[in-house]
């Protein structure tokens, strides 16, 4: 199954005092991926940047580094893309999780090198005792990895309260795990910490989720949100499987992946530093529209 989308993501900063210089990196362009066909993608920055450079980061994401060296009271970054998302295919093989880990440790798995970078701690995900204990309750000895990962997804979904505002962009897996609440980013971080504490490669995926309006109501433009889920490496046959702990499901064609990394910090949509500005006001609007006659 293939679904076509038009995605628009607008980020706007308003400054009470003009900003004289800013340096930024945005990570908002869809990353080339087997399940994603990119028909069109663009990034529009207002005001016109002094310099801008597009490149692939270490994870293969498309980033834009830009700076604006003229005084400005507003900064808008508009990312648009037309995309085709195809449904994943799951192999039926489901090896015990220890076997996947051992094969990676012994550098026998054909993907041992590429997955290595996703097996350890990262800025917001730590392999601590609590994460390990949390994982071990689901990852019992000999349990098949796909089954166990789904069970972990369900467990996080059931045990954590979805609570916007309870956490920040830099809340770590450790805090989220102990507070049992947060948003999609925290759900993903907790799951990553659990998986990696066992040595299972797991990565953070940022993107969008198509929302379906309640019956009888029109779709609200711009009311969608950025979303995040995880991708778990399950051995050479299953490969990377995307799981969404916030919604307790596989990421299928409703999930539109944009970038991936070890955690949120690797794929933050906009990072930067600026001079002047005062207390800036940030507004974000996301619009995910299915294109029916694609």
């Amino acid at each position: 199954m293939i679904v076509a989308y038009k995605v628009r993501h607008t980020t706007k900063f308003e400054y009470p005092i003009p900003v004289t210089v800013c340096h930024n990196i945005v990570c908002l362009s869809p990353r080339p991926d087997a399940r994603l066909n990119i028909n069109h993608a663009s990034i529009t920055i207002t005001p016109q940047p002094t310099v801008v450079a597009e490149r692939l980061d270490a994870f293969g994401n498309i980033t834009h580094a830009f700076s604006i060296e003229a005084s400005h009271g507003e900064l808008t970054v508009n990312a648009e893309a037309n995309l085709l998302v195809s449904a994943p295919f799951f192999a039926t093989a489901d090896p015990p999780w220890e076997q996947v880990v051992a094969s990676l440790d012994q550098q026998a798995d054909p993907n041992w090198f590429e997955s290595s970078t996703f097996r350890f701690g990262s800025m917001l995900v730590s392999r601590d005792q609590a994460a390990r204990e949390y994982a071990e309750r689901v990852f019992t000895p000999g349990r098949p990895i796909h089954e166990a990962s789904l069970a972990l997804t369900e467990r996080v979904n059931k045990e954590f309260a979805y609570k916007p505002g309870a956490t920040h962009v830099d809340t770590s897996s450790k805090e989220a795990l102990s507070n049992r609440e947060g948003v999609c980013q925290d759900f993903a971080h907790v799951m990553l910490a659990a998986l990696r504490s066992l040595g299972i490669p797991a990565r953070y995926v940022s993107g969008y989720l198509r929302t379906i309006p309640p019956k009888g109501q029109a779709r609200l433009i711009g009311a969608d949100q950025s979303h995040a889920w995880v991708s778990v490496y399950m051995g050479p046959e299953l490969g990377w499987v995307d799981l969404d702990p916030t919604n307790n499901m596989h990421a299928m064609t409703d999930h539109i992946p944009i970038a991936m990394g070890r955690d949120y910090a690797d794929v933050a949509p906009i990072r930067g530093a600026f001079l002047g500005g005062g207390e800036s006001k940030l507004s974000v609007s996301v619009d995910v529209e299915q294109i029916v006659d694609a």
Binding site: H23, S67, R119, M123, S126
Partner: protein, 818 residues
């Protein structure tokens, strides 16, 4: 006993213990005068990192040849490994290096990967900590590849020891250091992106505070580079520039003394206030070379040292000539088991952070030990263990003879064309207790200069002497960073404030002594006006003697003497790369005198004898300092800002004095007039002009309106106006000459005032009062205009959506590491 030591020992014995001790004291004095008097915000008197031993540490010709060869190999190897880890990662793909060595390293910022390499090298300056075990084998204890410290101290030790032992240097044919520094400088020049023979190179420092700050300033001056901190630099159009009074100057090469992660808050650690926003992108666009390369931290990980042997065979097909002390990385099951089985005999380190102190399992409590074991089990790849080594000893001086102390040696290598050159010498740390040296690099009891004997003629190149090469002559000074100009301005103000304060206090003591007043009798009302200039409101009830004494010796607070001198030292320290050594020594010495007086004078008693002598002394030093400044500083912008500060402060202080004493005339004014002339150092001029007749009109003229007396207000305003007219002015800006207009109008008002008219009493001197009020109003406005134009502190960049958090090191993050 080694051959070379015998030669040195016989030379030293020839001098005799008294001479050795005298030379020790002289060398130490030199270091103290160069003075790291300050290591923090407090008055910590730490003359040097560690005291310097007069006995040199000796490396024989053959020993040095072996070490130089082995360290050059090691530097080449680490450079190649850095290139591999930040590039193709062959060593991992081909299974020589376990992936965790790179990917579990919390300091591996993915932004380092794939950056262009300017000049083809990652490591331009390398340091190794070397030691020799009981068995006589040489070992490397750790590698430093990102921003090795210690080179400045090595140099300083060498210069201090070289001065006192110059006879031994030629007698024993000791190798010089200058060639090494010349090579290092040439290397940095070749990195420049614009291929200019004289590229702009800055040394990026953490700042003036602490021993690293001292070393940075010392190195910058020796190498001839601009000393900068992060806020002096900015990125514009992907190019790094130095923000100066004359505008933005392009920078081609940065010799950085800060960590990799601190270099750029946009792409690296968002919390860093030491770096420059956009620096990584500037490097990526090949507009900048950084020494050492960003990411070179990766190859100083203790974890990597367990694999250097195999990596050397992998990359070079040869054996590693100088091994690291036995190291076990716990990321491999067998090694982890060994470490857990032998925990108490080993030192543990965070696998990816080589600069901290070791964890010593043998000294942990049972509970701490079990926590440690749990953390090793959870994140084994975050730990390495190292064998504990018993270090050899070397002769150290005990005042009369030698005694054996344990030693550790830091050696340095610099990129030299296709290879590396090793410094014939190094920084030697000594301690009586062997284990103290394990807590490197900050622990030791003493330091020694390291001597390498040359075969044949020792090279006598010196960077301190003028080079024979023709240089491009430069006369401008507009490359002055705005921050430095600000500090110089305030240094000028502080010096003048200190001098004025000292002169005022001296005059008060003279008055007290002349009156023969006993402590409990309060000063008469007229004279109390001067006393009240001391800004010591919190002491209204104290006796005159106490107030004077406290103004000099009390703990620093704004307005008192110690605070004034403290400010001079602090500001001089922050711009010490712009001051001559003599100037710096003078400032440092003043604080030493003051502290000595504090130590020997109980503040409670009313004895002012020592205080009076101290003030005389300080006035002399401050006058000498002012003279030194005006004589030995070239008339660059830096000097102008220093002098602007002095003139502004002097004008203000003189006006304050006149206001306090003359507006409300006293019945008998003559003694006060005479004292005013004393405080303002104009008594002699007065006497030549008017002999002994003391009248208010000529005094007012001399101190206020006479623009040829260097102490008058008019003279200060004249110079202020002149300095401002020489500052870079931007004609494009409409407000650009507000400061010039202001200074001119102030000068005109003061110069045109008639002293006779000013002296008129009715009964107060209202005319004088009006003029002084005008000056008091205008001077701060002028000061603000100047600050806004040139000195406004560059704002620090703010972050958004940056991750404001330190890096967790997995199991280590939550630990309270012992």
């Amino acid at each position: 006993m080694r051959e070379e030591w015998r030669a040195i020992q016989s030379s030293l014995n020839g001098l005799g213990p008294k001479t050795i001790e005298a030379r020790r004291a002289r060398a130490q004095q030199r270091l103290d005068d160069n003075g790291i008097l300050l290591t923090g915000p407090h008055e910590v008197t730490q003359p040097h990192l560690w005291p310097l031993d007069p006995v040199p540490f000796q490396l024989g010709t053959n020993q040095f040849a072996f070490l130089a060869d082995a360290l050059a190999q090691r530097a080449r190897l680490l450079n190649v490994i850095a290139g591999d880890l930040l590039g193709p990662q062959r060593s991992i793909r081909e299974k020589v290096l376990p992936p965790a060595i790179l990917f579990a390293n919390p300091h591996y910022q993915r932004a380092y990967h794939g950056l262009p390499v300017m000049g083809g090298r990652y490591i331009h300056l390398y340091a190794a900590d070397i030691t020799r075990g009981d068995g006589g084998n040489w070992w490397v204890q750790g590698d430093r590849t990102q921003a090795p410290s210690g080179l400045g101290f090595t140099l300083e030790n060498r210069i201090a020891i070289g001065r006192v032992h110059s006879d031994l240097f030629s007698q024993l044919n000791i190798k010089r250091h200058a060639r090494f520094f010349q090579t290092f400088r040439d290397t940095l020049t070749t990195l420049a992106t614009n291929r200019s023979p004289n590229p702009h190179i800055v040394l990026l420092s953490e700042g003036p505070v602490g021993h690293r700050g001292f070393e940075d300033a010392y190195l910058a001056r020796y190498l001839g580079y601009t000393l900068a901190v992060g806020e002096d630099l900015a990125v514009r159009r992907n190019r790094v520039v130095l923000k100066t009074l004359g505008g933005a100057l392009p920078v081609e090469v940065i010799l950085r003394r800060i960590n990799d992660e601190a270099c750029d808050p946009v792409e690296l650690n968002a919390q860093s206030r030491l770096g420059v926003a956009g620096l990584v992108e500037a490097q990526r666009q090949e507009h900048l070379a950084i020494a050492n390369m960003l990411g070179s931290q990766l190859v100083e990980s203790p974890a990597l040292s367990a694999f250097l042997g195999p990596l050397c065979r992998f990359f070079f097909g040869e054996d590693l000539k100088l091994p690291t002390i036995a190291t076990w990385w716990c990321g491999q099951p067998a090694q982890k088991q060994y470490v857990l089985d032998n925990l108490k005999t080993l030192y543990l380190y965070p696998a990816f952070q080589g600069t901290g102190p070791p964890i010593v399992p043998a000294s942990l409590t049972a509970r701490q030990l079990s926590d440690l074991i749990e953390r090793i089990r959870l994140t084994p790849e975050q730990f390495v263990a190292q064998q504990r080594l018993r270090r050899g000893t070397t002769p150290a001086w005990n005042g009369e003879g030698y005694e054996p102390w344990h030693w550790a040696l830091r050696m340095f290598a610099t990129m030299d064309g296709d290879d590396y050159t090793v410094l014939p010498g190094g920084l030697v740390r000594l301690a009586r207790e062997d284990s103290m040296l394990d807590f490197e690099p900050s622990h030791a009891e003493r330091t020694q200069d390291c001597w390498v004997t040359a075969e044949g003629q020792a090279d006598t190149l010196s960077l301190l002497a003028p080079s024979h090469q023709p240089v491009e002559l430069k006369r401008s000074g507009s490359e002055l960073p705005s921050r430095v100009a600000d500090n110089l301005y305030w240094l000028g103000r502080s010096m003048e404030a200190a001098e004025n304060r000292a002169r005022l206090l001296r005059a008060l003591i003279m008055r007290v002594e002349m009156d023969g007043t006993r402590a409990e009798v309060p000063m008469d009302q007229d004279w109390a006006r001067l006393l009240n200039l001391l800004d010591d409101e919190e002491l209204p009830k104290a006796s005159t003697h106490q107030r004077i004494k406290r103004a000099v010796l009390d703990t620093p607070r704004p307005g008192n003497m110690r605070h004034a001198i403290r400010e001079c030292v602090r500001l001089a320290q922050s711009v010490r790369d712009r001051l001559s050594l003599d100037a710096w020594r003078l400032v440092a010495r003043m604080e030493r005198y003051l502290l000595q007086a504090v130590a020997t004078n109980p503040i409670q008693d009313d004895d002012l004898t020592d205080v009076s002598a101290l003030l005389n002394h300080l006035v002399l030093e401050l006058v000498a300092y002012g003279g030194l400044m005006s004589e030995s500083m070239t008339r660059t912008l830096g000097w102008r800002f220093l002098d602007l500060g002095r003139r502004t402060e002097r004008a203000q202080r003189t006006v304050d004095l006149l206001e306090a004493t003359l507006i409300k005339p006293m019945d008998e004014e003559r003694p006060m007039l005479s004292t005013l002339l004393d405080i303002c150092d104009s008594a002699m001029t007065y006497r030549t002009r008017y002999l002994a007749e003391m009248r208010p009109e000529p005094v007012i003229d001399l101190l206020l309106t006479d623009d040829i007396n260097p102490r008058s207000v008019a003279y200060q305003l004249k110079l202020i106006r002149k300095h401002i007219s020489k500052l870079p002015h931007d004609p494009g800006l409409p407000e650009s000459d507000a400061d010039l207009v202001l200074s001119q109008s102030l000068l005109d008002q003061v110069r045109s005032a008639d002293p006779n008219f000013m002296a008129v009493r009715s009964p107060n001197r209202v005319n004088l009062d009006r003029l002084i009020k005008e000056i008091n109003e205008q001077l701060p406005i002028l000061d603000q205009a100047l600050t806004a134009r040139y000195l406004a502190h560059t704002e620090l960049p703010k972050q958004f959506t940056g991750i404001e958090r330190a890096f967790p090191e997995d199991g280590l993050a939550e630990s309270d590491a012992p």
